[in-house]
């Protein structure tokens, strides 16, 4: 692919958990989608009218969850796209839609694709829409599983059992990401956290702690993709997509009895680096999908920074902060930035663009020129994630 496509505008709204008594704002997924889109358009110097006849990519909203949500968004917000894309890929929504949009841009179907991701999983407060997989309703909830919490805990337990991984290893990831969130003006969680705080935090399902887990927030993120030929016509420096990789239903070993400590990012990251013609040592940072700390640790192994099973020791011995040798999740990640529902994967993309533009302020990775973004989506029955993807972004095509 080699830099044919670029990101020329980004937008990120403030986040909220819709706690009215604490003065937090309450907005719908649709309002966040519009807000984020307007911020990205402004950032790029484009207008809503410029998007007529172009591409629009939206994410499957968790609320409201209507059957044909993309057309509802188009109608309600008055978009007139030629190409309409909707992600139902969970944590890989951003990566998968970027790959689809890049194909349409390269085919000459459109010149721009606006990615508008908004979601309000915390709205309305107290209500819990029944939004999940058929197999969870039939073969998980009646069997006593607590969804994400059970599956994340089982992955971490298996990793600890096989490799002697310690809770402090997961803790280092949580503590580092919290430090990043405290340096990120837009991150939701700002409370300081020490390793002691982490080790004293509530266990949800052994060994998964509250501070290992993603935090749902309401919010929106957006960005704009265009072709290389148009990339320099915008207000900010373009950030190029140098490579990508996608894999679905990946299983390490026997597909019926897979190793749940290895994710599809192993394949997706390898493919994305090959397409970009670079080695992983060239990466200045990683924005890894982090619905829990264990996913970060597994991906560091899967990308190949150490052997499978050595992630705990690697994290212990490596500075993964923004000033370290391998900066990871420099904006706080989903764990401390917050996870805006199904727009989750947009968080990693927008943070990567900020780093590569040099706009990350107090958490800026010095001299960042190239970085990796990953996505993991759809918790699988008997495995880990059904969807996995990776992108390589850089300042030069």
């Amino acid at each position: 692919m080699g830099g044919d496509i670029a990101i020329v505008g980004i937008g990120e709204t403030p986040y909220s958990r819709a706690r009215v008594k604490k003065g937090e704002i309450v907005m719908s997924a649709e309002e966040y989608t519009a807000w984020a889109a307007s911020l990205a358009l402004e950032d790029s110097g484009l207008t809503k009218g410029d998007m007529d006849g172009q591409g629009l990519a939206v994410v499957g909203s968790e609320w409201p969850h209507s059957e044909i949500w993309s057309a509802e968004i188009v109608q309600n917000l008055g978009f007139k796209p030629k190409l309409l894309l909707r992600g139902d890929f969970g944590g890989t929504n951003a990566v998968e839609l970027i790959v689809q949009a890049a194909a349409a841009l390269k085919a000459g179907m459109v010149d721009y694709v606006l990615f508008a991701g908004g979601d309000s999983p915390m709205l309305p407060p107290g209500e819990n829409p029944n939004r999940t997989w058929r197999y969870e309703l039939d073969y998980m909830r009646p069997f006593g599983l607590m969804g994400f919490i059970s599956l994340a805990a089982l992955m971490m337990q298996r990793h600890m059992y096989l490799y002697g991984t310690k809770q402090e290893h997961f803790g280092k990831i949580a503590v580092t990401q919290r430090e990043h969130a405290r340096l990120n003006p837009n991150a939701y969680v700002k409370t300081p956290m020490t390793m002691e705080d982490y080790l004293n935090s509530r266990i949800l399902s052994d060994p998964l702690r509250m501070f290992d887990s993603t935090l749902f927030v309401n919010g929106g993120l957006a960005f704009i993709l265009t072709k290389k030929e148009l990339a320099d016509k915008h207000a900010k420096n373009p950030i190029y997509i140098l490579g990508y990789g996608l894999v679905h239903n990946y299983a390490e070993g026997d597909p019926a009895l897979p190793d749940i400590t290895t994710t599809g990012v192993k394949v997706a990251a390898r493919d994305s680096l090959e397409m970009a013609c670079i080695s992983r040592e060239k990466l200045d940072f990683l924005q890894l999908y982090d619905d829990f700390t264990g996913a970060v640790l597994m991906q560091i192994e899967d990308i190949g920074f150490c052997n499978k099973g050595e992630g705990g020791k690697f994290v212990e011995q490596t500075d993964i902060s923004y000033r370290g040798t391998l900066p990871v999740n420099t904006g706080g990640g989903l764990i401390s930035n917050g996870q805006p529902g199904m727009a989750a994967g947009f968080v990693q993309v927008v943070e990567a663009v900020k780093q590569l533009r040099g706009e990350a302020m107090n958490r800026q990775v010095n001299g960042a020129r190239i970085g990796l973004v990953s996505g993991l989506g759809a918790l699988a029955y008997g495995s880990n994630f059904a969807n996995a993807g990776a992108l390589i972004l850089g300042v030069e095509p």
């Binding site: 309703l137 039939d138 998980m140 969804g147 805990a153 052994d206 019926a256 029955y381």
Partner: protein
């Protein structure tokens, strides 16, 4: 049957899944097996996910398996509050002897005593007159 109303979630029984739920009601474990490649399939699928054959049959299996991973559940989240009365309890991934993988609770053993590699057997809790839910317990009771 229990006189108390069963408040935990129940599965939806469809034509595809009815043979499975009929078997659990008889306290037997029956899963799909591919007539073409011979693999056992859990949960019920529309064709063999390994080879694509639509020639599937229902086969009685041993109900024996080995714990692959286990976690002690300490809170209710994303499931019915009715589970609260059971906390804490163990959820495990169990690799069944016939080569398929199931999730389930492991009971009749303290959560901290459930270990990877533990041999377990399936049994069935009669939730309603129509539905019995598979549960695991240690194969060889200690003491």
């Amino acid at each position: 049957m229990n006189e108390r109303k069963y408040e935990k979630p129940l599965p939806e029984v469809t034509p595809l899944t009815k043979p499975f739920w009929d078997s659990t009601k008889r306290h037997e474990l029956v899963v799909q097996r591919c007539k073409s490649c011979g693999r056992y399939i859990w949960y019920p699928k529309a064709w063999c996910p390994f080879c694509g054959s639509r020639e599937l049959e229902w086969a009685k299996v041993s109900g024996l398996g080995t714990v692959y991973a286990a976690t002690t559940t300490r809170i209710v989240a994303g499931n019915s509050p009715a589970w609260g009365e059971e906390l804490p309890y163990t959820i495990a991934i169990v690799d069944m002897d016939e080569g398929f993988r199931m999730y389930g609770r492991v009971v009749d053993v303290k959560p901290e005593e459930v270990e990877v590699g533990m041999r377990v057997e399936i049994y069935f809790e009669d939730a309603t007159e129509e539905i019995a839910i598979p549960i695991f317990r240690p194969l060889e009771k200690k003491k």
